[in-house]
């Protein structure tokens, strides 16, 4: 899905959107990107590998993003709010980069939790 040479947007656009999403995750409190046990959730392109972000050409000239996260528990705010905030950040970053028309669905999946800090 993320291999070079797929139909749809150029690799650089997918890679750039994946990098923007990774940056948005990095500045969001309480979550980190995770590429999963088999390193499935990552975007590989000529520019390199972006962990925790799966960028997929949707065949209609846009790029769908799947953000895979590990959340710290207890979260500083509801997970839904974190996810909404993150999606908003990604959309804003894409708009600033002039790529909002290239950005398709942005999905967020909480794949893991870090529960060591759970307290009564």
């Amino acid at each position: 899905m993320t291999r070079d040479g797929d139909s749809g947007p150029a690799v650089s656009e997918r890679a750039m959107l994946a990098v923007l999403a990774a940056q948005a995750i990095a500045v969001t409190d309480g979550v980190t990107a995770t590429s999963g046990p088999a390193e499935r959730w990552q975007t590989t392109s000529a520019a390199g590998t972006v962990a925790g972000v799966l960028a997929v050409a949707d065949g209609r000239g846009r790029v769908e993003l799947e953000l895979h996260l590990a959340a710290r528990w207890p979260p500083s705010m509801p997970l839904r709010q974190i996810a909404e905030q993150l999606r908003e950040r990604v959309r804003r970053s894409a708009a600033i980069a002039g790529m909002s028309d290239r950005l398709g669905d942005v999905s967020v999946a909480f794949d893991d939790v870090l529960t060591e800090a759970v307290s009564g």
Binding site: S107, F110, D111, D112
Partner: protein
Amino acid sequence: MVLLAARGLARLLALLLTATLAVAGVLVAVFSIQGDDSTLSLPNLVDLVALDDLHASVGGFLAALEADGPVAAVAGLAGAGAIVLGLLLLVGVLARKRERLVVMRSTADGTIAARPRALGQVAEALGEQSRDVLRATARTKARRRGTGGRLRLTVFHAQSADGTAATTAGRDRVRALAESFALRVRVRDRVPRRGARVR
């Protein structure tokens, strides 16, 4: 659906085959204790399970199978059936099950979801916060369609502790999590088995 059936069939067959193999192994081992024609000897086992008679009857069938005729046609069909069954079993063993995510919100812009295992981890950690609870285990399952899913939390408490109180405490602890992910919660209490380890 086919995948589920194939997986179930593969598990059942594996169980039956391993059980049969184990029983056969034990029989051969026991009947190897003595030699010659003694009670616990292999020749006696052959007599007991009437392998000679089986050889006679199967020998006739195999002879009919070699020749053209209805027996060969039936055997051909059975062979084809066995190939289909084998392929089905291979699918059941090798096909990977795609884990469904518990969807919190789904819109035209995308979905917000969580992996059931991650939610289970959180539920266990929350359930164990109660001082009446020694240990908690959780199983989370996503709904096939739409948002939400099911959470089954088991809280283990000391024999002397009140089970109802532990259940209520467990339910209270996971309430916020369940509400945010639209999980239907079922909590049950258990006393750990004697000698079971507490994490």
